[in-house]
Amino acid sequence: MFSTILSQYKTTLTVFLVLLVIVGLEVLQVRAAIYPSLLPAFEWLKNSTPLGYIGTTYGSIYATVQAMHLLAMGTLGGLVLTTDLRLLGVMFRSTPSEVISNGTHKAFKVALIVAVLTGIFCAAGVADKVYYMPVFWVKMLALAAGAAFVFLVKQPLLNSKPHSEINPWIIRGMAITSILVWFTVAASGRWIGFS
């Protein structure tokens, strides 16, 4: 029986385990212990890599990549809202939700890749500054949570069976979680600029 549960809810259990490990790391203060050891990596990113050099030397390139990051985040946000509002039954009610969620997922992946790549460039130019910003770490954790949620929970569940066979409250909960997580990523990203 135990093995049946394990095989049926493999992804859910994996996510639960990951969350448990994160809570454990926090309680045991492992994160606090790891945190100082990350500083050399951030200093290396800014001072010893081409990304850091270009970011600190050429302001116009830095600003242009920032704009690309904004555009990627804007596109990603539009795709998330379109998919999740359909899952909530707010938009595109006459179109099956499977069509919308599958049709936007590829573009979502492209937007996410562009956002991450341009984000690394933007962070490299000010790596020694963002390291000390709590809001930067909030964004990183929200981004990791958002990506894990999409690729380990949301898409596998939406692709597992017709959406009509999934409990509607699970679908609604998933859509609201997705909107909140990605809004946190975007809002904390904006707040980095004010810190």
Partner: protein, 190 residues
């Protein structure tokens, strides 16, 4: 002449009590800026999905008119919020913004983007509906979609450039740039 008028208008706005309150408030300007940028996800996000659909890059099995109709409302709400917050951002720092070359280019691109959107809408209404379920829109609509993508990328990029001071009035002596940016006093001093 136009630069003098714009500068006077900016100085008049800057003297307003509410303009000074927006800048002086600890969070007010930041909240305005954050709302302006975050609304990109609704406005540009929706617009790009419509453009991508016209180009056949996304949701090819959903009719183009369905995508455009359903996303029109959230897109317009997004743009309305962006215009209100954008106006308030200018109102908070009118002289600095009016004398920004990037802001001026952004406004020109915005006007072009709206002309393009108007033409695009007119072409879509006039087009024969047979293409609606095709994965790619007719050529004239595809051109409109590409123009829309390029112009809005330009608008966002210029918006991102505004806080940078590379070509501020006190940073350049190039008379063309000074004229284009509306740096009235610096032009007179040349």
């Amino acid at each position: 002449m136009i630069n003098e008028v714009l500068l006077q208008f900016g100085q008049w706005m800057e003297a307003q009590q509410y303009s000074q309150m927006l800048v002086a408030g600890y969070y007010s300007y930041s909240w305005l800026e954050a709302t302006h940028v975050l609304t990109l996800m609704v406005s540009i996000g929706s617009l790009f999905i419509i453009d991508f659909r016209m180009l056949g890059w996304i949701l090819p099995n959903v009719s183009a008119s369905t995508i455009a109709e359903r996303l029109h409302k959230p897109m317009m709400i997004g743009f309305a919020i962006m215009f209100i917050t954008g106006f308030l951002l200018v109102y908070a720092k009118p002289v600095e913004t009016i004398q920004s070359l990037w802001f001026r280019i952004k406004m020109v691109l915005l006007v072009l983007a709206f002309i393009n959107a108007w033409i695009f809408n007119a072409r879509m209404k006039a087009a024969d509906g047979n293409w609606d379920n095709d994965s790619v829109a007719p050529r004239n609509l595809r051109v409109g979609a590409i123009l829309s993508l390029v112009l809005w990328c330009g608008v966002v990029t210029m918006g991102r450039y505004i806080p940078y001071d590379w070509v501020d009035c006190d940073k350049t002596q190039n008379s063309t740039i000074l004229w284009a940016a509306g740096c009235v006093d610096q032009l007179k001093a040349l």
